[in-house]
Structure formats: C-alpha cells, structure tokens
Amino acid sequence: MTAKPKSKPLKKTLPLLILAGPGLLYFLINSYFPMFGVFIAFKDVNYAKGIFGSDWIGFKNFTFLFQTSDAWIMTRNTLLYNLTFIALGTVVSIIIAILMSELLNKLYSKLFMTGLILPNLISMIVLSLLVFAFLNADSGFVNHSILRPLGIPEINWYSEAKYWPYLLVLIQIWKTAGYGSIVYFASIAGIDKSIYESAKIDGAGKLKQIRMITLPLLKPTIIVLVLMSMGRIFNSDFGLFYQVPMNSGALYSATQTIDTYVYRALMQLNDIGMSAAAGLYQSLVGFALVLTVNAIVKKVNPENALF
C-alpha cells in the first residue's frame, strides 16, 4: 500500500526517461566526454611524451586563428552568415508553417511538406554537384541556357566572390527552411482552435488572426529556437562553405569561415593542439553568446527565457 505512491511517479517518468535515453547518451558521449580533452588546446602535443606529458604552452595554439587579416574576414563571414541564416531562416520557416497550417486539404499539405523537407536530406556533396550543374562556366544551366540565349555576358561564377553571399544564403534557406518549419507547424497545430473562432466572430480577417494570435503564441517557440541556434553562431556548415563553392580560392573572401580556415590551415600541419584550440574558441564564444542573449530575453520578458 505504501509503495504505491512511490512507484507511480517512476512508472510515469520511466517511459519519458527511456525516450530521453538515446539523446542523453548522445550528448554524454559526443559532448561531455570529449570536454575532458580541452586541455589539449594548451599543449604542444608530442607523441613520445603522450598528451599528458606534453609541454604546456599557454595560449600559443590560439594565435594562428588571429595571425592574418583573414581573421577579420572569417569572423565577419561566420557571424554575418549565421545571423542571416537565423533571421531569414526563422522568417521563411514561420511563413511556410503558417501557409501549411492554412492548407485544409490533408493530401496537399502532406505533399508540400514532404517536398519542402526533401532538400534537407540531400548531402552537401550532392548539393554541391547540383549547384555545379547550374553554375559551371562552360555547360552550366545558368550560363548555357539562360544567359547565352539572352545575349547577356556569361559569368564565371566560381571566380567572382560578389555573387556568393546571395547564393550561399539562397542555398542554405532552400535546404533548411522546410525542415525548420516543422516545429513551428506543430506549435501552430497546438493552438486552441476556439481562439481563432472567436476572433472570426469579432470580425478579424486572416492576416489579423495571424498577426494577433498565431505570432504572439509562437513567440516562446521562436525564442527557444533562436537561442539554441545562437550557441552555434561561431560554427558553420563546413559542407556549405567548402564543398558548395568547390573550394575555389577566388571565392575565399566570401566563403571563408572559421571552420574552413581551420581545415585549410591544419590540413598540412595535422596538429591536434591547434585544432583543439580552434574548437574551444568556437565553443566558448557560442556559450557566452547564449548566456548574453538569454540574459537579454530574461530582462525583457522573464517567462520566455530559457533558464
């Protein structure tokens, strides 16, 4: 008799725990265990001495990140691209989600949703070839079938950096917006339908309903998702910035991010101390950003803060 109230919470939480299990395990193995290795960032790794015996060298491993004028370019690129992706991605995802939720026909809704999510499943390598098919100088679709027949001078896409900020944003949004809209779509589906009904009775049109009901109720979701992506603002999708521009040197000013710089710089050196330093730097800045943004949100609206 006395055992019953005790076992009940466990019974209730056990399925949830099991559900969370794989995720927890994933983070434990991939994020928390490796944290143990951060000290490598401060070592001059020597294999004969082992990682524990190697000499401490302070912040020397970090200097390569700030060595050149590239440091400014790659930081700027990483930040601006990510901010654009977060801002534009959120807007486009919400628009898609709202449009989807207005589709009453189940079949259409499913069809469009699948179509929009599909790009997210394409690997960046495959995507880079698709882009290449459009943009290559000789036989690419854009040059060969659009610009040439129209008599517009052809563009050597892979050697002119000025087009790439737009191209990369376009590609990223095309690839991820559909997938990103799922969470918003689910939140909208969870909004009580009677609110809309009463709004309709009060004479609110579709747009007004969206502005006054859907968006305010989506706010917590938006804040959480933006906060989460803030943490990765110093990381970039390596495939997008390295594979898609075909690693073309002429485009570095538009495509160099911290990740690609680290890869290019350390490909030859193969120095794990310096790689660890780069990773630590990215994580710390991301961590600081999450804390800052969360603090701001807390100040403005305590209910919506993450913690």
């Binding site: 994933y26 193995i29 991939n30 994020s31 265990f33 490796p34 143990f36 290795g37 790794v45 020597n46 294999y47 004969a48 001495k49 082992g50 990682i51 524990f52 020397k60 200097t63 390569f64 060595q67 050149t68 004028s69 590239d70 290559n136 100088a137 000789d138 050597n156 892979y158 050697s159 075909m246 690693n247 073309s248 040197g249 002429a250 570095y252 160099q256 710089y261 290019r264 710089a265 350390l266 490909m267 030859q268 050196l269 193969n270 120095d271 794990i272 310096m274």
Partner: protein
Amino acid sequence: MKKKGLGSLLLSMVICGSLLSACGGNSNTSSKNSGDTEAKAKVAEIVFALPSFNRIPDDLSKVTEAINAITTAKIGVKVDFRLFGPADYAQKVNLALQSGEKMDIFTTLGQFSNYVSKSQVAPLEELLTEHGKELTAILDKDFGPDILKTTTMDGHIYGIPVNKGMALPTNIIYNADMLAEAGVAADSIQSVEDLPAVFGAVKQKLPDVVPFGPINVNPTDTGLVNWMKGASKVDYLTDTTGVGVVIGDNGKVVNFYESDVFKNGIQMMRDWFEAGYLQKDTATTTITAMEMVSSGRGFSFLGGYSGMEVGKQLSAQVGKNIETKRIAPFYFDTSAVNSVTWMVSSTSKETEAAVKFLNLLYTDKELINTILFGIEGEDYIKVDEHHVKFPEGMDANTVPYTSMLSSGIVGSESLQYQMEGINWSDVELKLKENKDTERSPYFGFIFDQGQVKTQMSAVNNVVNQFLPALVSGSVDPESIIAKFNSALKDAGAQDIIDSKQQQLDQWLAAQKQ
C-alpha cells in the same frame, strides 16, 4: 549531423584509447626485463599498413598467410597486414598513432618532417647498422649513399625512402593522333617554348579540343610549378608552401612568388590562357587533365614521369594513343626523395622486428612481389624472370588480390616484377637516372616547422587562395602577384624565411665539418 556525431565519437574513443594505452605503457616496462629472454624465442608480431590504389579485397587472409610464411621463416616475425585506400590511409594511420593502437610500420604520403617533429617515429640508425645491412647496400646501389640524408634529422635516421626511380623529369603528355592530325612532327617539341605553336596548330585543326589540360588538385604540385622547379633549379626546402626556397646555389632563402622565375612562368601560362589554349574554368574545375585526355576533349598536359615507357602505360590507362616528350630535367631536393618514406612508430614495442621486416621489404624479391601481386597462379602468372601477367580472363579488378599500383611505394623497384609488355631496360634507365640527376646543394636539409607553425598555417591558406588562379593563367599576373605577396607578408612569410635561413645556415655549417 550524422557525420559530426561519428567524428565526436571517434575523438572520444581516441581520448579513451590514449588513456588506456598510457596506463598500459607503464605496466609493460616493469615486466619487460623478466620476459625478455622468453620473447626472443617467441615470434614478434608487427602491424604493417600499406596504401593500395587498387580495389581493396574483403579477404586478405590468404595473402597475409603467404607474407607470414616468408617472414616467419626468414626473420621470425609475424606480420599483421593492413591495406587502406589512398584517401583513408593517412587518416587511419594517424588515428592509430593518436589512439595508441598497435601500428608499427607505416609510410608518409609527403609529411615526413611533421611526423618527426611530433616525435611520432622512432630513430632507426642503431638498428639499421645491426639488422639493415642488406637494405643499406641496395639503397647505395640503386640510388647512392646520400639517400638516407633525406630522412636524417639531428643525426637520427627516422625513415627509409622507397627505393625506385625518383627522378621525375617534366614531360608533355599528348594525344599522338591529334598531333598527327594537326600536322605537327613530334620532334619539333624540344622545350616549353615550342608548345604554343603546337597548341595553335591543334586548336586550328580541332576547334573543339582543349589544347592544354587543366591543372588542379594541389596547386604547389602542378605541372607548371614542377616544370619551374626542374628548369630553374628551385629547391623548396621540404615544405610545400613555396615561401622559403633557394633558387640555384646562392644559399639565400627567398619567397618564390617574388622571383622572376615565378613571374615568367605565370606570364607564360597567362599567354596560353589568353590565346584560348586552356579551359575558362581551369582554376576551379574538378576534372583532371587525364580525364580530359581520356575523353578526347583534351590534347595535352604536363606531368613528371620517370623512365621512357610512360606513354605505353598511359595509353593503356586512358585508351588513347598517348606519347610523351621530355621538356625539362628533374632537380633532386630533399622532399623529392623523402616524400614516400617508411617509418617505424615511436610507440612500437617491436622496433627490432620492424627493422628486420623493413630490411626484407627492400631486399626480398619474394616478399615484395607477394605484397604487390599476391599469390602466383591465383593472382598472377609469371611470364619470365622479370615479367608477370594476370591469369586468363582476369584483370586488376577481378583477381582475388593485387596491389600492383602501389609499386611506387613498396621496397625496391629493381626487384619488382613488371607487367608483361613493359621494357625491362626502362627500370635500369630509371636507376641510372637516380644517380645522374643533379642534386640540389641543399639535398638532405630538412626544415623543422615547429617554430613557425602559426605562420605556416596562415601561409597555407593564402597560397590556396591565390595560387590556383595564378598557375592556371586565369587572372592577371601583374596585379594578383602583388596582392598575393602582400597577403603572404601579412601572414608571416618573412618569419618562415628567416627561420629557414637560420636553419639552412646551421645545416650548411654542419655539412662542412
């Protein structure tokens, strides 16, 4: 997402692995003395990892058995034979080294000094004098006694360069049928100055063909850069960036990209590009010159090849009538020789067995050819003393085992079988050229990048950014070379040059003693 997960998983495994191995290491040393006498009677076991450019068979047991039959009988060593594709190889070996997994003998694919500066490889000089006499003898015979200088740092020998035809004079490789169609005699091509006329004739006769093939992959290893190195005696002094080189024999380290040799070479390529001899997207294309020639879209490209039989081999490979013509000599600098070097891991517990095995790997005809061609009768059939062929109805892709394309990586070329149809005298010619080819006065100098790691990483980035467009002639050299050099200066090129000059002066002083 999935890829990243895997990467992190590997990292955590690496860290756990190194923990385990660190503990394991300690306990072993204490028990070593007592077990020493016992170990001698026992067969030592080593791990030997080979890069293969052929299909990797699922089952290596038969060939491993055959290798072990040879090694246990001759030196009492058992070999755990591993085979990795070229793309995987460095990663697998590095992972094993970092995690402390057993990995005794492995090769560099061009990173020799990196392994040494991180103490990943064991010094071999003492073991070599005891267990490697035959090995040193065959290196002396095929290349010359100076070969081991290229793997010696601070008086220690850290590896054995592969023993093969190392001189790779620059050849123009071209489609002979197209040349005939354009009405040009092959003998009219003697040097690089003769090429524009040939390209012009080809372009006129065959307007759809691209006269000169794209240059890609690693920009510092393109036909153009190699041609400049050979024709103008440029020593890169072992790193691949090119910011600290010596041109000729004046002993002065300079930035290659500021030199007239570089400017003239790039200007030449620019002229070719503007005349329409190269593809417009040469700088960025991922299609190799070989593929272009193979598909009939390309006419020629520059490449470094040893011997005179290249044309035959390439014809078979690409299915066109290919001929070659030497247009510049080769120039031996250190990295030309030590770029493929067999090394013993510094964490290896069987260094003695490893050196015994290396000795055999360079000198035992049976072992070398088992590794390359597999088992006689099943994987290959012997034609005569020097030649083999595949069994009836089989080729390199269908035999149970072959690593024949690794012939430039394994042991001594003079002991390897050749495929039927290859002229044996070519092997002799290659060995002769090993001795005749001019050595740089700094042959044997190895640059230790340790002091300027930061600058090296920054400079690498700059080189990747500017060089591909320049070596393909697709940008204006006037303005871009100046930009390139100012970016290099920004990245700390001068520190590299200074550090190199200082090391080179020390090395030269040590050589005089």
